[in-house]
């Protein structure tokens, strides 16, 4: 029941909402990266990486602790790039060579609730 829409000026990220928009933790993003093809990760990276500054200039105008639904969705999609960029810019593949698959890692921000 994902009826929340991205802010209209960021509709170019619409194709990536299904993959990244509902993920709530870094580990879920790490797991998603392992299951997407490199081509899909590259398409996401190509669409978003050059426009990160534009996205955050927009998000700067909101209180980080009280993001409206559309902006919260936008930020969740954008956080997906923290994992996708590792595959695209660093590893050249979705999974870490020789690591178990599927692989999960517990990541806890102590005293801070990440988006």
């Amino acid at each position: 029941m994902n009826h929340v829409q991205l802010p209209p000026q960021f509709a170019f990220l619409e194709p990536f909402v299904d993959d990244w928009g509902s993920l709530a933790t870094q580990d879920e993003r790490y797991r998603k990266r392992q299951d997407l093809s490199q081509a899909k990760l590259e398409a996401f990276h190509a669409a978003l990486a050059p426009r990160l500054e534009e996205v955050f200039t927009y998000l700067d105008t909101f209180d980080p602790a009280a993001l409206p639904a559309a902006e919260a969705l936008l930020f969740r999609v954008v956080l997906g790039l923290t994992e996708a960029s590792q595959a695209v810019e660093i590893l050249g593949q979705p999974r870490i060579p020789h690591a178990p698959y599927p692989h999960t890692v517990n990541m806890e921000w102590v005293g801070y609730q990440p988006h």
Binding site: R29, L59, T82, Q86, V105, E108, Y112
Partner: protein
């Protein structure tokens, strides 16, 4: 630095001739049991930071999986920090059920025995039925606790053989005043792996693998042209503990738009802050016990605290790695990425999440290799590992490991 090679500490420089190490140390249940008794029940074990319990009433619960210990660390009304086994004196329930919090009393959820924050037993419901129980002698069971540099250490011996300072053997003196407290915020990364814990200890004690295993992740940033096998420089030993200096490529500038954007928001933990260095506010950079050679491309000091800790002070924080054996072929890794502060903006949250992903990927590479190493060793075709002249800290760890197992004085 004209010729860095003269600072590359070799095993022979440290009189470490033990090049061959039995695979049995890494595969035998008997060795694991001896490690539990002769190392982990004797050594001081680092388990946290004082700033995790800053106020009276603050507590945390920590597991020490090697000993199956569940430990409450709590700051009393008097400001003193104490450690207890998390076990009710009545019938043993692990009564503190939250991972952290603030309270002045702990109440057992089974029969409501009540303890003060200092561990003493305060009340027994229906006390008339426990005439044989001396409340004064039935507090939570204490564990020896001491601190250095803001780090909390526990000792599980009835009476520690040596004080924490004696145990640290001068490492504490050399690093006295290192500004760990400037970096109070941390992200904890934990995972369990099918391998012997010493595989990971060893991985953090040599740079030889970095150009190969971390070819895509770390190598471009840290392996310099004049040290292609990333020899640790200027290795110092303090009892079983050690430290060595590691370089970095200050001109690392990847053609990577997302990473470049991150650098512009908030430098990753490891990336040099050239302005801060010039202005003398670069955290660990100016401490006299760190980068003693004053190399210009200083990356980190890799500090190994026996038996299971590696700490790496970096440009904008530090990394803390801990390796707990669970059996001879299973271990838990905890990595903490320490920074100056929690994210203040969404830009910073993105940047820190990116650094988290990058750091985790490097550690996962090490963990993946340690698992393959375990498979190979357990296959049984080889009786020994062999450590090179460029792996002096592996030989040193093995020497001290053997001494502990043999019961030598610390």
């Amino acid at each position: 630095m004209a010729d860095i090679s003269k600072h590359m500490t070799k095993a022979c420089d440290m009189s470490l001739g033990n090049a061959f190490v039995p695979v049995e140390y890494y595969t035998s249940p008997d060795y694991f049991r001896r490690e539990q008794d002769m190392i982990f029940r004797r050594a001081w074990l680092m388990v946290g930071r004082m700033d995790e319990v800053p106020e009276p009433g603050d507590y945390i619960v920590r597991e020490v999986p090697t000993l199956k210990a569940n430990v409450v660390i709590a700051r009393g009304k008097d400001g003193q920090v104490r450690a207890f086994h998390n076990a009710c004196s009545h019938r043993g329930v692990a009564l503190v059920c939250q991972p952290r919090g603030n309270t002045m009393t702990f109440r057992c959820p089974y029969h409501a025995w009540l303890y003060r924050i200092d561990g003493s037993l305060s009340a027994i419901p229906g006390e008339q039925d426990f005439p044989h129980v001396d409340k004064a002698a039935n507090g939570l069971a204490g564990i020896h606790l001491d601190t250095w540099g803001g780090f909390i250490f526990l000792n599980f011996a009835q009476e520690p053989e040596v004080s924490l300072s004696q145990f640290l053997a001068g490492l504490d003196v050399m690093l006295d005043g290192a500004p760990f407290e400037q970096f109070p915020f941390c992200i904890r990364v934990t995972d369990e792996i099918d391998c012997n814990w010493k595989n990971l200890v060893n991985a953090f004690n040599e740079g030889y693998h970095v150009a190969v295993l971390h070819n895509k992740t770390l190598r471009p940033a840290v392996v310099p042209k004049d040290n292609p096998h990333l020899h640790y420089l200027d290795v110092k030993q303090f009892g079983p503990h050690s430290t060595g200096t590691v370089q970095r490529n200050f001109d690392y500038n990847p053609d990577a738009p997302a990473l470049t954007w991150v650098y512009a928001q908030m430098l990753p933990t490891s990336a040099p802050d050239l302005d801060a260095i010039k202005q003398g506010r670069a955290g660990f950079h100016d401490h006299p016990g760190i980068n003693r050679l004053k190399i210009e491309n200083f990356g980190t000091e890799t500090i190994t605290v026996f038996p299971n800790i590696s700490i790496q002070p970096l440009a904008n924080g530090y990394l803390f790695y801990q390796f707990w054996p669970i059996s001879e072929r299973r271990m838990r890794t905890e990595v903490r990425i320490y920074s100056r502060h929690a994210p203040r903006t969404l830009r910073e949250e993105y940047a820190m999440a990116s650094t988290l992903a990058a750091t985790r990927d490097v550690v996962v590479e090490d963990m993946a290799m340690s698992r393959l190493q375990q498979i190979g060793m357990e296959s049984g075709g080889k009786t020994h590992q062999q450590f090179g002249q460029n792996e002096p800290l592996l030989r040193m760890f093995t020497r001290d490991y053997e001494a502990y197992l043999a019961g030598a004085a610390m």
